[in-house]
């Protein structure tokens, strides 16, 4: 047996959990496509392992009535875990097909003489006339995968880029849940209160019901939904209702949320400690950085379709986890899970726990009023900003002790943050927005964040990757802010990497040492060193040739979660009437690379998004509610602001594949902050790093 079976096989150990054979061979995955091409990579892994062309198999993404339950498609783990599970299933299938082939052939071959190549069964490389598709029907799908899997050797695998299976329809057709059509469909718009604890005080529901195209108004507690005959009528009625409604809330105002987080006296938990912290004297350097609350800000607002038939409800949703969503809906409606089916349909880019699940529950609540008729809900842009969970603001303080030989001897890190992960059905409550204010409410239990053993939440990447001997990391979860937060791409890693790399850079600058050299002196891991060395080499000429006024290069580096992909980013900024990022170069090691261009695409996307977070973005509040309603209130990076960009991968076919989707967020932020520091000589520690923030820092 090739090592331990990947975790997804624990609950779905049978071949038939992952494979069906009818007209062709169909694989089932509990993962979903989030818009990064992960399904293409998964299909490629299954097909390669089996020995057929990717077009020869079908791959069905998560749906609660058929596929294995793999929880959420998150944390860049879809390839590393979901793909490994498919490989095991494909390998077991190959093995059993070859067994059937051996029985059919005479003289009877040894199994080792047989293989499947491009769908054909070969005996010592020669055709046998048998095919995988022809024999698959003879395989007993009740077999245990772990009993039969014999994975191909890494040398047999080919890293290559397949065209995205779903890209063409995304360009010219209608693959999104937003695009679904069904006979008799109605269109719903939710009217969400501005805060989670708000109570609906007044809204003229009769007048709402008389708006043009409205067929039904649904009210349950403080949740209101409008059903109409067209999307436009629903949208207009929803807007009218939001403008008319009046809600009350006891939630106290917070003047300066980031300041409140920084000053929090909530208990701090030590999440990591090694060495000792008895002495506080010596040459300590300190940097404290913060980021504001951030939106997911997907270009397509959350959407879903729901249909009730008798006691059963079917939901089509773009959610990251169809099984957890089913559980959450069951909790909120106090209904058995087996009456609920959730089927994944693509949405616009998903960067974490956004409003997808909430919109699905909105559709369920509204469709309940019109059994037999499908209801499609598409949130408004204002809903998308105001009702969805946000990425929490954070404050991370790093202190580093510089010892003899200009080596860092100790690092002491404190992370203050509202909790990150607060996903549907986690922690025993639904964590669906409307569930909090139904007549029979099921409010969310406070999030416990994510323990360090699972990669950490607020404290993700708070343990420095450098060899410094004495390290202490404390996490202070701040619960008393009224804003709804959950997982946003890379969780705490973005801010923690920014903080650690800012401190490292500050010390290197203080002692006048090259930032690459200083980091390399504190790194033994050969893979980490290789990434930095490659980045240094690739950019040496450009850095040496260039140093006009108000221009700076900055470096950021981290191994995501301390256990996943390595990524170094070097960025160049110019400051004039604005802060312009002219270049970004990244080198990454994500272990075995399944689809190089797909991986580069994700890393590039992470860099661009991180530039936007770092330089431009901050949620604005009006008391306890989100104030932003449109893109004018919350600008993100535009085409003419995007730098020249290059991403290089160090392929390590012998290593396990690691995710690429989140590894560049933190290093990019750090590279930018360090580049600005080099350009103007002062450090902006409070994000976003805007022109005004730089001017303020210069005159401070």
């Amino acid at each position: 047996m090739p090592g331990n079976p990947p975790a997804p096989l624990n609950d779905a150990p049978l071949l038939g959990d992952w494979v069906a054979v009818d007209a062709g061979i169909t694989f089932y995955t509990g993962r979903v496509e989030l818009g990064q091409g992960n399904l293409t990579a998964l299909a490629q892994m299954a097909a390669d392992e089996l020995g057929v062309a990717p077009e020869a198999i079908a791959l069905v993404p998560a749906r609660t009535d058929r596929t294995p339950n793999e929880g959420y498609t998150v944390g860049s783990m879809s390839v590393s875990q979901g793909g490994q599970a498919l490989r095991w299933a494909a390998s077991a299938l190959r093995h059993l097909i070859l067994r059937a082939a051996a029985q059919a052939l005479s003289p009877r071959p040894e199994l080792a003489e047989l293989d499947i190549v491009e769908g054909a069964v070969l005996r010592d490389g020669a055709a046998t006339g048998l095919t995988a598709a022809g024999l698959a029907g003879r395989v007993d799908l009740s077999a245990q995968i772990a009993d039969h899997a014999r994975l191909r050797r890494p040398e047999e695998r080919r890293a290559r880029d397949l065209p995205r299976i779903d890209l063409k329809e995304r360009l010219t057709a209608a693959p999104f849940v937003h695009d679904m059509e069904r006979p008799g469909m109605l269109f719903g718009a939710p009217v969400h209160p501005p805060h989670m604890d708000a109570a609906l005080m007044s809204l003229d529901l009769d007048a709402l019901a008389r708006r043009s195209g409205v067929v039904e108004v649904v009210r349950d507690g403080s949740f209101v939904g409008v059903l109409a005959t067209s999307p436009l009528a629903a949208q207009r009625a929803g807007e009218w209702a939001r403008a008319q409604g009046d809600w009350a809330s006891d939630t106290a105002e917070v003047g300066d949320p980031v300041g409140a987080i920084a000053r929090s006296e909530a208990p701090a938990e030590t999440v990591f400690e090694t060495g000792s912290f008895n002495r506080n004297d010596g040459d300590w350097h300190e940097v404290e950085v913060s980021r504001p609350y951030l939106f997911h800000a997907s270009i397509g607002p959350a959407a879903a379709v729901a249909l009730w038939e008798g006691d059963a409800v079917t939901v089509w949703s773009q959610a990251q986890g169809v099984f957890p969503l089913r559980k959450a809906i069951a909790m909120a409606l106090r209904k058995p899970e087996d009456q609920i089916t959730v089927i994944h349909r693509p949405g616009a880019g998903c960067y974490g726990h956004n409003g997808a699940d909430d919109a699905a529950f909105d559709a369920v609540l509204m469709a309940r009023a019109v059994p037999g008729r499908p209801v499609k809900v598409v949130w408004s842009r204002a809903d998308e900003f105001r009702a969805a969970p946000m990425g929490p603001a954070m404050v991370t303080r790093v202190r580093a002790l510089l010892g003899p030989e200009r080596r860092i001897k100790a690092m002491d890190i404190v992370v203050n943050s509202p909790p990150h992960a607060h996903r549907p059905s986690a922690g025993g409550t639904p964590n669906l927005r409307a569930a909090a204010y139904l007549a029979d409410p099921v409010p969310p239990a406070p999030s416990k964040d994510i323990p360090a053993t699972r990669g950490g939440g607020a404290d993700r990447n708070a343990v420095p990757g450098y060899d410094v001997g004495n390290v202490r990391v404390r996490k202070r979860l701040v619960y008393d802010l009224p804003y709804r937060t959950s997982s946003l791409r890379s969780l705490g890693a973005f801010t923690n990497v920014l903080a650690i790399e800012s401190c490292i850079d500050e010390i290197a600058a203080r002692i006048g040492e090259d930032p690459f050299a200083f980091r390399l002196r504190h790194l033994e891991d050969p893979r980490a060193r290789a990434v930095l060395e490659r980045l240094e080499e690739e950019t040496r000429a450009a850095r040496a040739a260039d140093m006009p006024e108000a221009t700076g290069w900055g470096l950021g580096f981290a191994r995501y979660k301390g256990s996943s992909g390595y990524c170094g980013v070097l960025a160049r900024v110019e400051l004039d009437d604005q802060i312009r990022v002219t270049d970004a170069v990244a080198v990454a090691d994500i272990g075995e690379v399944v689809s190089p261009d797909g991986a580069r695409n994700q890393i590039e996307g992470g860099i661009v998004q991180s530039i936007s977070w770092t330089l431009k973005e901050a949620v604005q509040f009006d008391g306890a509610a989100v104030a932003d309603n449109s893109w004018l209130d919350y600008p993100i990076l535009r085409f003419s602001e995007v730098p020249r960009l290059r991403v290089d991968l160090i392929d390590r076919p012998e290593e396990a594949p690691l995710g690429a989707g989140e590894i560049s967020q933190g290093p990019t932020a750090a590279a930018l902050a360090n580049a600005v520091r080099q350009a103007v000589g002062v450090r902006v520690t409070r994000l976003p790093i805007t022109r005004d923030a730089v001017i303020a820092a210069l005159s401070a």
Binding site: L167, T172, L232, G300, N601, V608, Q609, W631
Partner: protein
């Protein structure tokens, strides 16, 4: 020829004449998606600020969420579905070949903005292309590939004429 006595607004959509009745305040986006089933044009904000709904109107990029039907009598509309010609439009080929995008929600609008640009300014350079796409947001950060793809299509279109 528009016969004014018939109710509704006469338009050409991807070369096909259509007549659309009903509320003249309805945005073109709604007409395309709901009346004509052309769903590649996406709803992103409905506020004229994201570009997901961009189409080509009489040769220029326009935000279909912000164009009332009543103002479009006689207009020539092109949507991303129109790129599926035979052979496909070079922009479509270039975007697919370069994997220029991730979720793709923004892409039909970007394709149409790029088409309008390249038809009026075939020699547009990268900087000009970026400027012309500034009304189109992409949250997945595929900008750099998208610019590569538009440049490639521009070269191919220049070579073909």
């Amino acid at each position: 020829m528009a016969r004014t006595e018939e109710p509704g607004v006469a338009l050409t959509v991807n070369g096909r004449p259509v007549r659309i009745a009903g509320d003249p305040d309805r945005p073109l986006l709604d007409v395309l998606r709901e009346d004509l089933g052309l769903k590649a044009t996406r709803f992103g904000c409905g506020q004229g600020t994201c570009g997901a709904c961009t189409v080509v109107v009489d040769g220029e990029a326009g935000l279909s969420c912000d164009l009332p039907l009543g103002e479009l009598e006689g207009a020539r509309i092109e949507t991303a579905e129109g790129l599926l010609s035979d052979p496909p439009h070079p922009l479509l080929d270039a975007f697919l070949a370069r994997q220029a995008g991730q979720c793709g929600y923004c892409l039909p609008g970007i394709l149409m903005a790029a088409k309008a640009l390249l038809e009026t300014e075939p020699a547009a350079d990268r900087r000009r292309i970026a400027e012309a796409l500034d009304a189109n947001l992409c949250r997945c950060g595929a900008h750099h590939r998208i610019l590569d793809a538009v440049e490639q299509a521009a070269r191919e279109m220049a070579g073909a004429t």
